[in-house]
Structure formats: structure tokens, C-alpha cells
């Protein structure tokens, strides 16, 4: 059979044509659950990845998470304690939702438009709530108050009251990790936490599109996030005005409107099992351990705050310029070991695998280097130490190489101190 024949093979080879038709016919009979598959994919991806910053949840978190799955849905009784998984996996009694009236996407869009000052709207998009427990209500419009079109969106979600996500939504981010012009946090009379952040779409400011975000978390765990830009799209559209249309005060007015709380109430309880987070790896915080493991001769100029056990950074100076050093500490990553380590990577006698990488920081400013030592013990405990030759993730290089050597980073990553008390 002349298979080297490449021009229109089907004419020459009716069997191949029939095979192709048959494959399409049979392939078409398989119907996967696209949402579940993509959610599972995202969950898998999250395990592979290390964090490059202390978690900072901006306004679209609800939207993004609803898309990528793994959404933590909190029972509507507002309890912050984790339910036993056997209970969480069972269908909730209908009484656990205060209101189950579905909200259509049009209603979410209309609510947003009615709460905004007079102007014109285009490119309306939205999503309702009430049917799929993994869907979060959302609306986005291009709003023009007469001074230039601006993208503006609102998303509504439920978070665990007092939980990590609730805190992250309403805390100002660390300037070492995210540049911004202003950030204000506030506690409202009803106990809700509120934050307005005046920042940028691109943390490295390669385009000066401004992104202003307002986040509200009520004591019961309803969360409302509004984001607005000074361009007609969050990315890829030219700056259309000096600033986004709503002032911080107007943002607050919009975000705290009672209408959103009713829409939040329409989010149904999810029967999905709560994502089981393995417990924190150490008794202390990763920041303390990281500081303690630094070699002599480097001075800590700055370090991450908070009580994060899985991520920390320090900015160090050995007298020759500042250098950002980060660590990710992950409890059990055995399921993704084959994606992280390859046959050629070093394996120690105790089964610990080590992968190293030295190169330009793909996501950073030109000239910034990122050195990484990735380690995983036989029991799946992973420590990744990353060092940069810059003081932040979004600024220019301050020195020719990071302040730590690969050997020093390796010793730090392999230290048993990360797991003491675990």
C-alpha cells in the first residue's frame, strides 16, 4: 500500500476514509463530564505548582475558582468547623439553605447595572446561581459614564467565615509580592470585613492598566468582589481613561449593597466533599523555619508575615544587594511525583528526589534569574526553595546572581526542620 502518498489519501484509500468516519462516529459516543474533568485537571495542576506569592485572593477569585473547580463550599449554617467527610458527602437536608430561589444571569447583570451610576452598558455577560452548586453568580459589563469605557465585574461567593480565604480577601497584599498604589481595609458596623485595593492588572506594570478591587466578606461568609479597570477589557484593550470609573467610596457603596447578599443566598449547598487539606506540615510557620535555616552572613531585610505553614519568603542581603528567597512546603505530593521529577534527577539513598533548575524567571522582569531546588522525600513531603537576584518578583535585578548558592539552597530544602512537630 503506497502510504507515502500524502495528497488526499482518502481518495486513494477508501479504507482510511472509512476508518476516519468510524473513529469519529465512535469517539462521538463518549460523553465526559466536561466540568468535572476540567475541575479535576485544575486540582491536579494546583498540586504540581508551587506558589509564587502569599495567597492573595482578588475579586475574580469566585469566578476563577468556580471555573477551575475545587471550590470549597461552606455549609449554609455558617459553621466554620469542618464537617466529617462522611456527612459532607451525603446530600444536605434542604433546610440548610436559608433561600434556594434561583437567580438567573440576567438578574445578576441587571442588579449590577441598577446599582451603578448613570451610564451606558455593553458586552454584558453573567452567570446565575441556584442550579449547579459549583457555579458562582457573576456579572461583567463594559460601563461608560461618559468619560471612557471601562470593564467592570462583580462576583458573589460563599467562603468559610474566619477561614483563610475570608482573611485573604480582606487583607492588603504584601508589597513585596504585588505592587499597588493604595489599599484600605475596613470593618463595617455589621461586622463585615472590607478591602479596597488600587492596583494594576499586570504586577510587572508592562502595561499600565489599572485594576481596582473591592472585596467584602460578611460575618456569615457571603463574599462580594467588584473589580474595575481603566480599559474596556481586563487585558488586551488600550487604557481608555486615567482611572477606573468608580471611586473607592463608590466601590464600597456598590460592593456592600444588600442586593448581593440575596444573590449569595441563592448559591445552593454543595454535596461535594470538602477538599481535605493535609494538616500544616510544621508546628511553626514556614517563615520562622526559613529564617532559621539561612546561612550565616546573610541579613534578613524583610520576611513574610502571617501564619502560613506552606509558603514563606524572605528578602536577604549579604552586602552585595537584595535577594528574594521563597519556600513552598507541601505535605504529601506522591501522586504527582512523576510530573515533578524525571528519571535523570538525583535520588538520595533514603529515597529523597532532587530536581534543580537555574534560569531566567519566565514571569519576571528581564534579567531576573530564578534558581530552584525542588525536593521530595520518599513519604511525599516536598520542599521547594527558590531564590531570585531581585528584591521582589516584579522589580529589576539587584545583583548578578541570587544571594544563596545552589548548595546552600539544597541544604535548606533537605533540612528535617521543615517537618519537626508534624
Amino acid at each position: 500500500m503506497p502510504v507515502e502518498q500524502q495528497s488526499d489519501p482518502f481518495e486513494e484509500h477508501p479504507f482510511e476514509e472509512r476508518l476516519s468516519t468510524a473513529l469519529h462516529q465512535v469517539g462521538g459516543t463518549f460523553h465526559g463530564d466536561r466540568a468535572a474533568l476540567s475541575a479535576a485537571g485544575a486540582a491536579h495542576g494546583r498540586r504540581l505548582r508551587t506558589r509564587r506569592r502569599a495567597a492573595f485572593v482578588s475579586g475574580a477569585a469566585g469566578v476563577a475558582l468556580a471555573g477551575v473547580g475545587g471550590v470549597l463550599v461552606v455549609p449554609w449554617d455558617g459553621s466554620s468547623a469542618a464537617r466529617p467527610s462522611s456527612v459532607a458527602a451525603a446530600p444536605h437536608p434542604a433546610t440548610s439553605s436559608p433561600s434556594t430561589a434561583a437567580v438567573g444571569e440576567k438578574e445578576v447583570i441587571r442588579t449590577l447595572e441598577q446599582l451603578l451610576p448613570k451610564g451606558t452598558f455593553s458586552n454584558e455577560d453573567g452567570r446565575g446561581a441556584g442550579q449547579d452548586p459549583d457555579t458562582r453568580p457573576y456579572a461583567s459589563v463594559v460601563y461608560d459614564d461618559g468619560k471612557g469605557p471601562a470593564a467592570l465585574s462583580v462576583s458573589v461567593d460563599r467562603v468559610e467565615p474566619g477561614g483563610r480565604q475570608a482573611r485573604e480577601l480582606t487583607q492588603c497584599p504584601d508589597r513585596t509580592l504585588v505592587p499597588y498604589d493604595a489599599c484600605v481595609i475596613d470593618r463595617l458596623p455589621d461586622g463585615s470585613a472590607f478591602m479596597v485595593l488600587q492596583g494594576y492588572e499586570y504586577p510587572d506594570r508592562r502595561v499600565d492598566t489599572k485594576l481596582w478591587t473591592a472585596n467584602l466578606v460578611t460575618p456569615g461568609g457571603r463574599s462580594v468582589s467588584v473589580r474595575e479597570w481603566n480599559a474596556a477589557a481586563e487585558k488586551g484593550a488600550p487604557v481608555s481613561r486615567a482611572e477606573p470609573p468608580l471611586s473607592p467610596a463608590q466601590l464600597k457603596h456598590l460592593t456592600t449593597a444588600q442586593e448581593w447578599r440575596r444573590i449569595a443566598d441563592a448559591i445552593p449547598d454543595s454535596p461535594r466533599k470538602r477538599a481535605e487539606q493535609p494538616s500544616a506540615p510544621t508546628g511553626g510557620t514556614a517563615a520562622d523555619t526559613l529564617s532559621g535555616l539561612l546561612p550565616k552572613g546573610v541579613e534578613v531585610v524583610k520576611k513574610s508575615g502571617g501564619d502560613d505553614a506552606e509558603y514563606a519568603y524572605v528578602v536577604v542581603d549579604d552586602g552585595r544587594g537584595r535577594s528574594l528567597v521563597q519556600v513552598n512546603v507541601q505535605p504529601d505530593m506522591r501522586d504527582v511525583a512523576d510530573d515533578l521529577f524525571h528519571p535523570g534527577d538525583e535520588t538520595l539513598a533514603d529515597g529523597t528526589r532532587i530536581a534543580v533548575q537555574q534560569g531566567p524567571d519566565e514571569k519576571g522582569v528581564d534579567g531576573v534569574l530564578m534558581w530552584t531546588v525542588d525536593t521530595m522525600r520518599a513519604d511525599g513531603k516536598r520542599v521547594v526553595v527558590t531564590a531570585f537576584n531581585s528584591a521582589t518578583q516584579h522589580s529589576a535585578a539587584t545583583r548578578s546572581t541570587p544571594a544563596l548558592t545552589m548548595q546552600q539552597m539544597r541544604e535548606m530544602a533537605l533540612s528535617p526542620k521543615w517537618w519537626q512537630g508534624a
Binding site: F15, H24, Q25, G27, G32, S38, G41
Partner: protein, 169 residues
């Protein structure tokens, strides 16, 4: 910011998941559980490398390449632990006349070596050229042609020249 990235990636994943799953079902000769695992792994990698994927000329093709390589890596791991599949894998119900074609075709695919199956799926389901198929498989074009000839010969033996007859009994 990251959320924009995550949204774009999530949109892509939802949009492509169905197609990837169907491809995975053909690659695994109807093992829907393995197909789900492969799609999950594929989308996980897409998620991690979204920056690179989104800049690719054809992100959908990129994802398909990742799927094929994930499948082949899985087959290598499995053959190294000598786990073979003796029992017919779980297959969802097919409707009417398609059921015969489906069973016959999946059985036939299941009798091909994994790499040959990948060639068949890339060439005749994805409509990739010999050169593109070679690229995905990290193989030479000559090797792809050889596999293609062999696979087609085997499928013709198993299915008969007139495959189409199964579709419309």
C-alpha cells in the same frame, strides 16, 4: 493578574475537555476510567504551563499532544509493572446500530500496540499529517509511516475492508 489567567485557562479546559476525553477513550480503546485519568493529568499540565500553552499557535493541538504523550508514558509505566488488562474495560452504553461498530472498533484498537493506536488516533481522528504525528510522538516520519502501514493492515484484518457496514447494519 493570576485570576485572569486562571479564568482563561479554566475556559480553555472546559471547552477542550470533551474533545480530549473522546480522544482519550479511543487511545485507551474504551477504558473510560483511564481516559478520565489521562484527561485530568493532561489538563493539570496545561494548567501549570498555561503561559506557554496560551502562547502556542494552536493551544488545542498542544493539549492533544500532551494527552498523547501522557497516554504513552502511562503505557510505559504499566508495561514496566507488567499489568495487563485481561478483562474488557468498562464501557458506557452505546445507542442502537452504533453499538456494534463501537464494540468492534474499540476491540480492534485494543489489539494494537499503544504507539500504533496513538498513530491511528492522531492521523485519522485528529487529521494530523505524518510530519505532525512524528512531532507529537518524538519519532521520525519514516517510523510513523511504518507504524501507520502496520496498524492499518491489522485494522483491515480485524474490521474488514468495509468498516462502514457496521455503522449502518
Amino acid at each position: 493578574m493570576r485570576q485572569g489567567r486562571a479564568e482563561a485557562c479554566a475556559e480553555f479546559a472546559v471547552a477542550r475537555a470533551g474533545h480530549l476525553y473522546r480522544a482519550a477513550c479511543l487511545l485507551t480503546a474504551g477504558d473510560t476510567h483511564l481516559a478520565e485519568d489521562l484527561v485530568q493529568e493532561t489538563l493539570g499540565r496545561v494548567y501549570v504551563h498555561w503561559g506557554r500553552v496560551s502562547r502556542a499557535e494552536n493551544p488545542a493541538a498542544y493539549a492533544q499532544t500532551v494527552l498523547t504523550r501522557t497516554f504513552l508514558a502511562h503505557q510505559r509505566r504499566r508495561s514496566s509493572t507488567e499489568r495487563t488488562m485481561e478483562v474488557l474495560p468498562d464501557r458506557a452504553d452505546a445507542a442502537g446500530g452504533d453499538a456494534v461498530l463501537r464494540l468492534t472498533l474499540l476491540d480492534a484498537l485494543g489489539q494494537l500496540p499503544a504507539k500504533d493506536r496513538a498513530v491511528v488516533v492522531l492521523r485519522y481522528w485528529e487529521d494530523r499529517s505524518i510530519a505532525e504525528t512524528a512531532d507529537v510522538l518524538n519519532a521520525s516520519q519514516a517510523a510513523v509511516r511504518t507504524r501507520c502501514v502496520r496498524a492499518l493492515g491489522r485494522l483491515r484484518d480485524l474490521l474488514g475492508e468495509d468498516i462502514g457496514a457496521y455503522a449502518h447494519p
